[in-house]
Amino acid sequence: MASSTASRRLFLEYKNLTSNPPDGITAGPVSEDDIFLWEALIQGPDGTPFEGGIFPAELKFPKDYPLNPPTMRFLGEVWHPNVYANGLVCISILHAPGDDPHHYEKASERWSPIQSVEKILISVMSMLAEPNDESPANIEAAKMWRERRGEFERKVREGVRRSLGVS
């Protein structure tokens, strides 16, 4: 897809996110020169161990966006079953329908051109609250979340405090 289509759509999404932002989410291009690289800030959902944290992440869009999804990577430390050690987020909405690494994601949950940055970020926010341990990206975290919930929550809270510089 012509990249002008992709950038126009990203402009439109950016404007819509700025004038009508969802709760706990901000996002936008990092610099004026490259509309295909965004930074996002996600608030940790209330009532979860992530509460009170602010999680920065970067989104990289392909030139044929929205035919294919962007990739999303947390820039800080996030201890979570669906986040790789390098911060890469593994969630079904970020997987193109033809590309199913684990073979048990429903097609309806996967990327489609009608999805948007806003929907991705909302999905990631709810992923923080409810991990999906069927297709873990961080096997250690998934095990801990399943078997030693208390320890998992303590570890997450410590991470949040460290990222805020209060411990």
Binding site: M1, T5, R8, R9, F11, L12, E13, Y14, K15, N16, S19, N20, P29, E32, D33, I35, P66, L67, A96, P97, G98, A107, S108, S112, P113, I114, S116
Partner: protein
């Protein structure tokens, strides 16, 4: 990058009192490119996208982006009416959006002004309290006065203030406390509206009713177009336009009347319409019209063009529009005859004028300064 702030987007409506137009606009945008539909095509599963967008998607994975049903490019069919809908909407969009922003600005201004007035009134009270003997009474009055929307107290006190030395003639009539015109007691309240309503409120109301009519007009277009899409025997464009014309003459008028008459303000058609007060409050307009008429008859000998350019004052936008009901203005634009007067519009709309395509006349609907 700057262009990101200039792109039109459905969230533009959210800053205006017309936020309910945001979802209307969203429906007119392709879910893939998020732009207004460009050559809309409908899939076998009845979802509509820009031709380019859906062809790219189908080439990519052969599925509808909304429901993921399999589909093929050769099964796509044009959804022409959506294109027309997008075209008329886009033509009207900047005008309606501008009106919405103006209404917002007027409202914000009103709130500020009301606050300012309150502060000023308190200052005056302090000064007055020094030398007025009945300062307690004065204070309550002034406080009441600070609210421009309360009719009764301001009338009572104004009567008290002004009639102190005057003897009232015993004619069974009551005087307007402001212009002192005499009338039946029950007519005073409606009459007072003319004095009490701040100009900006009246303007805001006029804008509001204009917007209501435009909005209903859009909705009616949407309804007829959608119904036509479902129909097994779609009506022709001519028939659709004829229906719209009928709508304008029936519901359009009702919309206008309800948005105008609801607030209890007297209308020219009312039985107890206060003609004298109307004449007083619109005196300057009438004088202006008379002056212009005189000027037009006079300069036969001189060069008419230069006289008009130099002397004739530009008529004010609001005055011109308040005389004609808005839907009639709209209708006269649609029949492409700007000189049509209301009576003529009601009776003899020629079928030729009525059946002109909608998209052309809308271009004329440009805001005047």
């Amino acid at each position: 990058m700057d262009s990101s702030f200039n792109v039109a987007d459905s969230s533009d409506w959210l800053e205006t009192p017309l936020s309910y137009l945001a979802p209307v606009e969203q429906v007119l945008r392709c879910q893939v490119c998020k732009d207004f539909f460009d050559t809309p095509m409908i899939t076998s599963c009845s979802h509509t996208f820009c031709s380019l967008c859906i062809r790219r998607c189908l080439t990519n994975d052969g599925r509808c982006p909304v429901c993921r049903a399999n589909d093929q490019e050769m099964k796509l069919r044009s959804n022409a009416i959506i294109q027309e809908l997008v075209d008329v909407f886009q033509t009207a969009r900047p005008i309606v959006l501008q009106l919405g922003k103006e209404v917002k600005a007027t409202r914000d201004g009103l709130v500020k002004r009301a606050k300012k007035r309150k502060i000023e009134d308190t200052d005056i009270d302090d000064e007055e309290n020094v030398d007025k003997p009945y300062n307690g009474r004065r204070k309550t009055r002034s406080q009441q006065q600070s609210n421009p929307f309360v009719v009764e107290p301001s009338m009572d006190q104004a009567m008290g203030d002004q009639k102190d030395g005057d003897l009232q003639p015993d004619d069974g009539l009551a005087a307007c406390p402001i212009c002192k015109a005499r009338m039946k007691e029950e007519a005073v309240f409606t009459h007072l509206d003319i004095h009490n309503k701040p100009e900006t409120v009246a303007q805001a109301e006029a804008e509001q009713s204009r917007l209501t009519i435009l909005l209903h007009f859009f909705i009616s277009i949407l309804i007829s177009v959608n119904a036509n899409c479902d129909s097994r025997r779609p009506r022709t464009k001519r028939e659709l336009l004829h229906e719209l014309d009928i709508w304008d003459k029936t519901q359009g008028r009702q919309v206008y009347n309800s948005s105008n008459g609801g607030g209890g303000s007297s209308s020219v058609m009312d039985k107890d319409f206060d003609g004298a007060a109307w004449a007083t409050s619109h005196d300057s307009d009438f004088q202006n019209l008379i002056a212009r008429a005189r000027r037009k008859t006079k300069p036969k000998a001189e060069d008419i063009r230069t006289t008009e350019e130099s002397n004739v004052p530009v008529p004010e936008h609001s005055n011109g529009n308040e005389i004609l009901p808005n839907h009639i203005l709209l209708a006269s634009k649609i029949t492409d005859d700007p000189d049509r007067v209301p009576q003529a519009q009601q009776d003899n709309v020629t079928s030729a004028a009525r059946n002109r395509p909608v998209e052309v006349p809308f271009v004329d609907l440009e805001p005047e300064d």
